[in-house]
């Protein structure tokens, strides 16, 4: 039996875990028309992965909207260049659609290269480019030859699938850069971090930990990234992949071509963070590095523990709902909620696959609802049925949570507080406490009125009661 009533064709995307059997969920298919999916498009997926490359020029070949809605809306921070905070567009008009936009694109690339001297240009294709058939590849190839800098086409026509396709398109674009610059890492222990987007400066809490262990981070894909770092990332010996949905594809390609193995890790939550550090140390099979990792874990954990204990006392026992873009973050959140003594009652993602949901269903408790590609109507129902106290999701979900009187934590790319690393978990716990225990949820939704009550006026009630013979009027 399904947990809630929903659209025909959506039933299989919602399931409740019962017993030990892993939940099998319909997933990885097209969103249902009219259901108001929370998913975005291929372009969106490609843009979020590539955009944190701070010194690259991101040019959208398409009508203006695609560039307008993606201009500086993400919280990925830079320690230097800020070219990525601009949104460049060929602003295609009706004439471009009719006669083709290749010439305009070629001139735009040339103009922008001269004006901004970027180390690389990414050219995103959008829906109509896919329809009118502009040859992005050819334009980019000749621009690369003419300008002497990588001009890379990103095959991100919006309709070609969901965000996952966009991640792939971005990975393919990045892969064109990998291995195009020579580098000799200073440390024999060199790694890349994949699927780390430096949202709210997350990376800056993580990188020093690796450096303390004697590890050199050659490149971060793509948080606070530089084109040159990506170009020499083939010199690393290990890829640590955090956001698996967006970057496993690239990790596999790098393993194939450059023989760099990869491991899935997460920098969120005490347990996952410790595992990540140990994972790197074990890979290099260096005893002193392993000891250093343990020292860091012990020291940092001790440092934040009092605060964690405090916030845990404030939030434990509360019920959390998770709705994320990708599965990796959702999985990491389940563990973090465990560390904070909270129960996960709903867990969903926009783009999880069969394996993701199997993994999730093995982690969560009996009674937890797992949902794929949810929409606002389903989420509303589920939050009520599962009696969630808090929703962790992105901006689109924030305001309906508030309307329902449910606490909220933004764990998307728009957040402005760092949640990774040791202090990150404290920040996260603090935010949960701030929202869950806010007095605003306890304010009366209805004013108590001397003349108008919620079930009619006091006078009416008295009369009613009197009529029933229960109470004397006036008492």
């Amino acid at each position: 039996m399904s947990v809630i009533k929903t659209f025909e064709g959506r039933e299989g995307h919602i399931s409740q875990k019962t017993g030990y059997d892993p939940v099998s969920l319909s997933c990885s298919n097209e969103s249902l028309a009219g259901a108001v999916s929370q998913r975005a498009c291929v372009y969106s997926g490609a843009r979020v992965v590539l955009n944190p490359l701070t010194d690259a020029l991101h040019l959208v070949h398409g009508p203006i909207g695609c560039a307008s809605y993606t201009w500086d809306i993400r919280g990925s921070s830079s320690s230097g260049p800020d070219l990525y905070k601009n949104s460049f567009s060929t602003d295609m008009s009706e004439l471009d659609v009719v006669y083709g936009g290749e010439k305009k694109l070629a001139r735009a690339i040339r103009d922008l290269a001269e004006r901004f001297h970027p180390p690389a240009i990414f050219v995103y294709s959008t829906c109509i480019v896919g329809i009118i058939g502009d040859d992005l590849k050819a334009v980019c190839r000749s621009a690369t030859a003419e300008l002497g800098l990588p001009v890379i086409p990103v095959r991100s026509e919006g309709f070609r699938g969901n965000k996952n396709e966009g991640y792939k398109a971005a990975c393919n674009a990045l892969f064109e850069l990998v291995g195009t610059k020579e580098h000799r890492p200073a440390s024999p222990y060199a790694i890349n971090l994949l699927g780390e987007y430096n949202v709210a400066g997350d990376l800056w809490a993580i990188k020093p930990l690796f450096e303390e262990m004697g590890i050199e981070v050659v490149a971060t894909f793509t948080g606070d990234g530089r084109v040159a770092e990506i170009q020499r990332s083939h010199t690393a010996r290990l890829n640590l992949v955090q956001c698996s949905g967006s970057m496993t594809y690239l990790a596999k390609k790098m393993e194939e071509r450059y023989g760099i193995p990869y491991q899935h890790i997460s920098f969120f939550g005490l347990g996952d963070l410790a595992s990540a550090l140990r994972c790197a140390a074990r890979f290099f099979a260096d005893e002193s590095m392993l000891a250093k990792a343990e020292e860091i874990i012990e020291r940092e954990t001790a440092q934040v523990m009092p605060k964690i204990v405090y916030y845990r006392s404030r939030v434990q026992g509360k019920k959390a709902a998770i709705y994320m873009g990708g599965a990796a973050k959702a999985v990491s959140l389940v563990r973090a909620f465990e560390e904070l003594g909270m129960e996960v009652v709903i867990i969903g993602t926009q783009t999880g696959d069969r394996d993701d949901y199997r993994k999730i269903s093995c982690m969560v408790r009996d009674g937890t609802v797992i949902v794929d590609d949810a929409n606002p109507l389903e989420l509303r129902e589920l939050l009520a049925v599962q009696k969630a106290d808090l929703l962790v999701a992105g901006v689109k979900e924030r305001f309906f949570a508030y309307k329902l009187g449910i606490a909220f934590c933004d764990f998307n790319h728009d957040r402005t507080t760092s949640f990774e690393g040791y202090d990150g978990l404290v920040n996260f716990a603090q935010e949960l406490d701030a929202s869950l225990n806010s007095p605003v949820w306890r304010l009366p939704l209805r004013r108590s009125s001397p003349i108008v009550g919620s079930q009619g006026s006091e006078i009416e009630k008295t009369i009613e009661k009197a009529a029933e013979g229960g109470v004397q009027a006036g008492v």
């Binding site: 969103s31 009219g34 259901a35 975005a40 203006i64 201009w71 103009d111 919006g158 309709f159």
Partner: protein
């Protein structure tokens, strides 16, 4: 200036965005984009950020298959599910660049849907390809599509249509509504689109799936029977709901600027007095007096202050005229729209203003850098320039993504101008550490 082959940091959005703001002003009306899923999601995100409200927009979620073989099945499925899920009273279907480029005939598809599903829910089609015009025209087109689809001539009703011809805040619409109520002719007007509640909903138990409020369908139908139309704003767009009502149903239209600042509000008020024969209520006269008093209080702070104004065309025009009234200098005036009429009206207000048409923020930045600007007045999209140049920014219009209160920001009427004068002056005082 040489021809530009690219836009850097747009001062425009695309047409479908504008249609949402129009459709959400009609009671129980849900917007649906015929296009790829991403358009709906991106614009929901953008609008949720601004209004701090949930904004649901459905999509026909066109995929590769729909793109190759036509999107009819997707659009019909989308309409069907939207009706099942939300029980809307009406649906506004806006096209996107994708739907337009593959050549889907949405009117035809909608007619087929009506016949197949035996559905009598009003479905309003509007052609809003993202590659032409901008969100401002998208808004105007959707308004026109609404009356085109819904307005029906029956018996002369004698009411006045008050059309909000360009996008303003829910607070602005609320103010105008209250003004009409206070004036005593609440029943004599059809105001649309009414986003005062739909995009600024109170918290309540069991919130409805579609936020309450908006112009009723009955009123939309009745716009054809009104004795006249007053349209505020939207004068630089080619589509016009008021124009359509005039052509089709002989409802004469008067097109006014947005009532921003003293004189444009006076103009609006006079027009209402002329049409109703009732004098402005005393409390609004008092508001007017307070605006004059405020302008006297702040005139020295604002004297000669050089302001860069940018954003949607009608709001920018209103702000420019208001700055002149207050003694400030609209030194740079920019909009994403290309309109010679807009240019002429700005020029009429200020001889020296540096006017940018079809502007992007890179051009705006260049001008601001060289124009000794003291204050920026416009959307939150100016925040990078404001930070880089150390110029205070007073946020007005859509988007306002980084400060709260966009839904409650009052710009129109005497009170709106008073608040704006306060906000501008305080920003300058803050800047000067006073």
């Amino acid at each position: 200036m040489s021809e530009s082959y690219s836009t850097i940091n747009p001062c425009n959005m695309c047409m479908p965005m504008g249609s949402v703001l129009a459709f959400r002003g009609v009671e129980g009306c849900m917007p649906l984009f015929h296009g790829s899923q991403g358009c709906a999601t991106y614009m929901r995100l953008y609008l949720a950020h601004h209004f701090r409200e949930p904004v649901d927009i459905a999509s026909s979620a066109l995929s590769e298959k729909g793109t190759v073989y036509g999107g009819s099945a997707n659009l019909k499925m989308g309409l069907k599910n939207l009706i099942i899920g939300y029980s809307p009273k009406a649906i506004g279907v806006a096209t996107t660049c994708l739907a337009e480029t593959i050549g889907d005939d949405i009117v035809q598809i909608i007619n087929e849907f009506r016949a197949e599903e035996k559905s009598n829910i009003p479905i309003i089609p509007v052609s809003t390809p993202s590659y032409s015009a901008s969100h401002e025209e998208g808004y105007a087109r959707a308004l026109q599509a609404l009356v085109q689809s819904l307005a029906r001539r029956t018996e002369p009703g004698g009411r006045i249509n008050l059309i909000i011809g360009s996008f303003v805040s829910p607070a602005d619409v609320r103010y105008l509504k209250n003004m009409i109520i206070d004036w005593g002719f609440a029943d004599g007007f059809i105001l649309f689109p009414d986003i005062s509640e739909t995009l600024d909903a109170p918290r309540e138990e069991n919130p409805p799936r579609i936020t309450e409020g908006g112009t009723t369908l009955e009123d939309m139908v009745d716009t054809a029977n009104s004795r006249c139309t007053l349209t505020i704003g939207g004068r630089f767009q080619s589509s016009s709901a008021g124009g359509f009502l005039e052509r089709e149903f002989r409802v004469p239209q008067t097109a006014l600027p947005l009532p921003i600042g003293l004189k444009d509000t006076d103009l609006f008020v006079s027009m209402l007095e002329e049409q109703t024969g009732i004098a402005l209520p005393e409390r609004y006269e008092a508001q007017r007096g307070r605006l004059l008093d405020t302008l006297a209080d702040v005139h020295k702070y604002l004297a000669g202050v050089r302001v860069a104004v940018y954003g949607d065309s009608d709001i920018v025009l209103g702000l420019t005229r208001f700055l002149c009234e207050a003694g400030a200098i609209p030194a740079v005036v920019a909009t994403g729209l290309r309109s010679t009429r807009f240019e002429a009206e700005i020029r009429a207000a200020s001889e020296d203003a540096l006017i940018l048409l079809g502007a992007d923020f890179s051009q705006i930045h260049d001008k601001i850098r060289n124009a000794r600007i003291d204050l920026m007045l416009g959307t939150s999209n100016g925040r990078q320039i404001s930070k880089k140049e150390g110029i205070p920014l007073v946020r007005v219009g859509l988007p306002n993504h980084d400060r709260v209160g966009a839904t409650r920001q009052l710009l129109v009427g005497y009170e709106g101008a008073t608040r704006l004068a306060d906000a501008i002056t305080n920003a300058l005082l803050d800047e000067n550490n006073l």
